[in-house]
């Protein structure tokens, strides 16, 4: 294999304040052949994960009626594929629920088939 078949992708490591600039070389089959630029093992693992299957936890708010505030903060119960984040937020922008809610209550089951639920991140009592 020669070098010209490689494609290089750049990432910024988020593992610590050093912020190493990482490079991942991929061959024509889409396999990783080299990871450069890290100062520790954590950086290598991060580059591999970001390159093959980047995931994010999502935090946002949904509309709530009858509580102290008109918005309820929520989060995904786990990390979802990065390219689904905006679609997930679009779904959540149309959700409207009623107070009371308790922290940990499931607001949306299995968001977009990701296997992750959306849960409340605080209590919101019903205002009388």
């Amino acid at each position: 294999m020669t070098n010209d078949e490689r494609t290089t992708y750049a990432y910024l490591c988020i593992g610590c304040p050093l912020g190493c600039r990482l490079e991942v070389d991929e061959d024509s089959h889409g396999d990783i052949v080299e990871i450069r630029g890290s100062s520790c093992r954590k950086g290598d693992r991060y580059a591999e994960q970001e390159h093959t299957d980047p995931r994010r936890g999502v935090t946002t708010t949904v509309a709530i009626d009858g509580g102290l505030w008109p918005r309820l903060p929520v989060k995904t119960s786990g990390e979802i594929p990065k390219d689904r984040v905006l679609a997930a937020c679009e779904v959540l922008r149309r959700v409207r629920i009623e107070a009371p809610v308790e922290m940990g209550d499931v607001i949306v089951h299995d968001l977009l088939g990701t296997g992750c639920d959306v849960v409340a991140t605080r209590d919101m009592a019903r205002m009388t």
Partner: protein, 425 residues
Amino acid sequence: MIDDRPHVLLPNYDVVVAGGGPAGLGAAVAAREAGAERVLVVDREAEAGGILLQCIHSGFGLHHLGEELTGPEYAQRILENALDDGVDVLTNAYLLDIDNDQNLKLLSADHGVAILDTEATVLAMGARERTRAAIRIPGRRPAGIFTAGAAQRLVNLNGVLPGRRVVILGSGDIGLIMARRLTLEGVEVAGVFELMPHANGLSRNIVQCLHDFDIPLHLSTTVVEIHGRDRIDKVTVAPVDAQMKPVLDKAWDVPCDTLLVSVGLIPENELSRELRLRLDPVTSGPIVSSTMETSRDGVFACGNVVHIHDLVDFVSAEAELAGGHAGRFALGARPPHDNVRLQPGKNVAYCVPHTVTTDQPHTVYMRVRKPLEKSMLRLRDAEGDIVHERRLRYVVPAEMVTLKLRPGVLDGFQGDALQVEVVPR
């Protein structure tokens, strides 16, 4: 969490805490654990929790609780913990004044103006944002200009979007978090502009708040003019030269209806000034001893009201210390006075606490002025001799440096002042 039972005020307290954020709630619990019986937290907002309630993102508690929580989750945990511990919390109440006999004056929605007698007080009023006036951008003053924190509150609590197309000035974490937040709510973020040649936020936020959504970050660039009649309609931005002067012939216009300014926090020190506490000109917060006592006997302080913390975990640790000492003070304990002053030396902007003792363990928090890759933290005596040193890996102004002084480290030190420096090794 809102408690709707009528609130009963006692005529006197052991410890009254001003501010119900993580600092105030943590201090109140520590005061109870130190033996203080009547402990009251007052907060001017409708619910306790402080700034955490609007920080709906994740990233709180990794050090202190061993798991990563969102701001509201962390707030609810510590509030439940405080209530379970017998701390009394009064919301919609503003601390106005403390007189020389430790009488507190409150303005409360439930009780009107109330005077309380207390043995000890803890100041935990947090911080406020630096405003645009502090950086003086020329141009008109149309609507549509917000601090990033005010916009965060609007979006996350009030459910109001500040605009449709936003420019963010300043690359600190609050600005970065808001860039993502607005994007997720369908608002277009035209770009983040940073005067310095490096970003001020964590790399995690650069990646997950900007790169993930292709939001451009312009370093060494600033907003030089604001345009618009009633509402802002564009800003002019320009790169800056090595002296931080804008290069106006390279300026360009960015259409937008909103400008978010995220140029940092400053301790909420109105009350500290009024009480004539001695303030540190660098932090703008009160000068504190190793027990977190201010220049006034029986008045302690912790959290962002003392200096700006980037991690809530450190706030909680500092609150435990302040609250514990306030509780013991209320019960009559008077620890010996500190005998060593800490003075910021080379590349150190400030140290908190400002004084320590030689015979107790202490945690000293400090901020460096310039980033350094491999560095050495040194304590020097008046003659310049090294009393203690420690290697540090990578230091940046945006991240607090902590020094744990174990007992024994200062054994044999006879002087009354130590210079603290962080220099290349």
